[in-house]
């Protein structure tokens, strides 16, 4: 009966149910019975994702008071110490770098730079992208064409390429990294919001609100935005991961904040110089970056799947 893994009856009821209720069928439908019973609880991946985010938030907020080691203190006798359990000591649980600085302390310090920066860049680029996307999707006409042109121009300049141009003229600074992330980040929001807003434009309740004389401002603030914020939050959650990836890549290439600021990407770049003698120095910051991105992506995916299932997020 189950020729391609999906029980026949289930797949038919699914497709009928979906076409009646959703604009787009969910892309990530759990198709086995066990997964469907679980829907009341977040799936395991979401629990892991949210847990990672909780740990990151805690480390970012109170990390330095929990681990009171100076991230800049050099200890040249104990250079390139391996992590605890791999031949190191509990004085430096994650080992030390090529100048004998404590990796755990630097990881905490770097996280306090990279994570807030990524969140700020996500919010700022989201504000720009959402505004432009709603204008394009709801307004249509020349505004739509202008925003489409702008986003195509932006897509033709990848973030590293933009960062190269910015760094060539302005050098390294927090501001330049932030500008690069915001300028390259808004397109993702604009594209999604344009589609969301366009699908609302023809909705019956919007038309009826218009026909009873609701002003454009009230229509936007009281009717459209409440229906658009949930998709925006989902997208933003998924975008933070991308911002962390971008920021760390720029820092690694020397196109980042620069100076003596500790960043995860910069730590990995420094560790690369000692890759033959002490591979863990480059490996540990990379694991931190990957975990942070996983946390945001897993949480974002769970929210997106919920959104599609409940019908407030277009596929």
């Amino acid at each position: 009966m189950s020729t391609v893994g999906v029980p026949y009856r289930e797949s038919v009821t699914r497709s009928i149910g979906q076409s009646a209720r959703y604009a787009f069928p969910p892309a990530d439908v759990p198709t086995n019975a066990a997964a469907q019973r679980r829907t009341a609880w977040p799936p395991a991946s979401a629990v892991i994702g949210i847990s990672i985010l909780a740990i990151l938030a805690m480390v970012t907020l109170v990390g330095p008071s929990l681990w009171q080691v100076d991230p800049e203190a050099q200890d040249l006798v104990n250079r390139l110490m391996p992590p605890w359990g791999l031949g190191g000591t509990s004085a430096h649980p994650l080992g030390t770098d090529s100048l004998g600085r404590d990796t755990l302390a630097r990881l905490i310090t770097g996280g306090r730079v990279s994570l807030p920066l990524s969140v700020v860049a996500t919010i700022a680029s989201g504000a720009i992208g959402i505004t432009l996307g709603i204008m394009a999707g709801y307004g249509g006409g020349w505004v739509d064409r202008l925003v489409t042109w702008l986003s195509d121009v932006q897509l033709a300049i990848p973030f590293v390429v933009f960062a190269i141009a910015v760094t060539a003229v302005f050098g390294n600074s927090v501001g330049n990294v932030l500008v690069t992330l915001i300028v390259t980040g808004w397109v993702a929001y604009a594209r999604v919001m344009r589609l969301q807003a366009r699908s609302l434009r023809g909705a019956e309740w919007v038309l009826s609100a218009k026909s009873v004389g609701v002003s454009p401002v009230r229509l936007l603030t009281r009717h459209l935005l409440p229906n658009l914020w949930a998709p925006a939050v989902v997208l933003a959650t998924q975008q933070v991961g991308a911002m962390i990836l971008y920021e760390s890549s720029l820092s690694f290439l020397g196109l980042g904040i620069g100076g003596s600021t500790v960043t995860w990407g910069g730590m990995a770049a420094l560790g690369r110089e000692a890759i033959f003698k002490a591979p863990w120095v480059a490996a540990i910051p990379g694991i931190a970056i990957a975990l942070a991105i996983l946390g945001f992506n897993m949480t974002g995916d769970w929210l997106a799947t919920r959104g599609r299932r409940q019908g407030w997020l277009e596929a």
Binding site: T3, V4, G5, V6, Y8, S11, S15, Q18, P25, A27, V29, P30, T31, N32, A34, A35, W149, L150, D152, V153, L155, A156, I157, P158, F159, V160, V161, I164, A165, V166, T167, A168, V169, F170, G171, R191, G241, L245, S248, S249, F252, L253, G254, L255, G265, A268, R272, I275, F276, P279, A282, A283, P285, G286, I289, A290, I293, L294, N297, M298
Partner: protein, 314 residues
Amino acid sequence: MVGFLVNRLLHAVAVLFGVVSVTFALLHLAGDPLRGLIPPGATPEVESQVRTAYGLDRPLPEQYLDFVGGAMRGDFGDSWRQGRPALEAVLERLPATLWLTAAATILAVAVGVLLGVSAAARPGSAWDIVARSMALLGQAVPAFWLGTMLILLFAVGLQWLPSSGLEGPGGIILPALSLAAYPAATLTRLLRGSVIEMLGADYIRTARAKGLSRSRILIGHALRNAALPALAFTGLQVGFLLGGAVIVEGVFAYPGIGGLALDAVAARDIPLVEAFVWVVAVMILVANLLTDTLAMLLDPRLREDGLTLGSAAS
């Protein structure tokens, strides 16, 4: 069909004009291209001589028109460092980058299709969970870090492949692997989702009722219909891949345009940076045109409606 292509071509030229304008605004309006080139203790006379020599003393509108006129044709003047046309210097390094990008694209599509379709065939199975976990990891691991770890494993540990440069055919394998991980992961997720969706469609039920084999339905029907969004996605990924190539080239000291551009940043070689931005943009626009054309050849509906892939995929 011809009208559509002309339309897309005009759009591409308009986008290139936008890219050139952004480059000018960034490098000439917002910043001072000569920052760091004029020695600190130079007299105003020397400084104005340098500005005149580089044509930077003229009114901005004149500089802009001159810049756009040259840039639309790919003329950015001579590289300040190399003393020869900047475009020539970039084009010389372009083939290596294109090879890397092509290798990564092929790898990403092969892995993405394999993982995505096989996971969709049995949703919820152990293999599905493995494929989804691999996709999640692929999207989370930074290319520069993956590259470093691959060097550690294959070049230092096992000593199978070279750790840097492009000596022999083996030199491209590790960079291509590092570059392909992210797009392969994204494609896996995209294809898994759309193939599962396709498997719930009426025509699949019909195919099943006809008694077609499982693999025939999966590949001949579901994958074929899921291929279009995947193609649109791959076209869009070219920009990401070219950007990612810069990172990976930095890790592996690979002799492509990325390494050249990173050197140009250190040397403040503005014409070279401009030519680099332009070449990347042209490559992305050409790739988008090719994707649109290919999609029209594959899907008759696009030909009739004159839709672009972007609107079809959305």
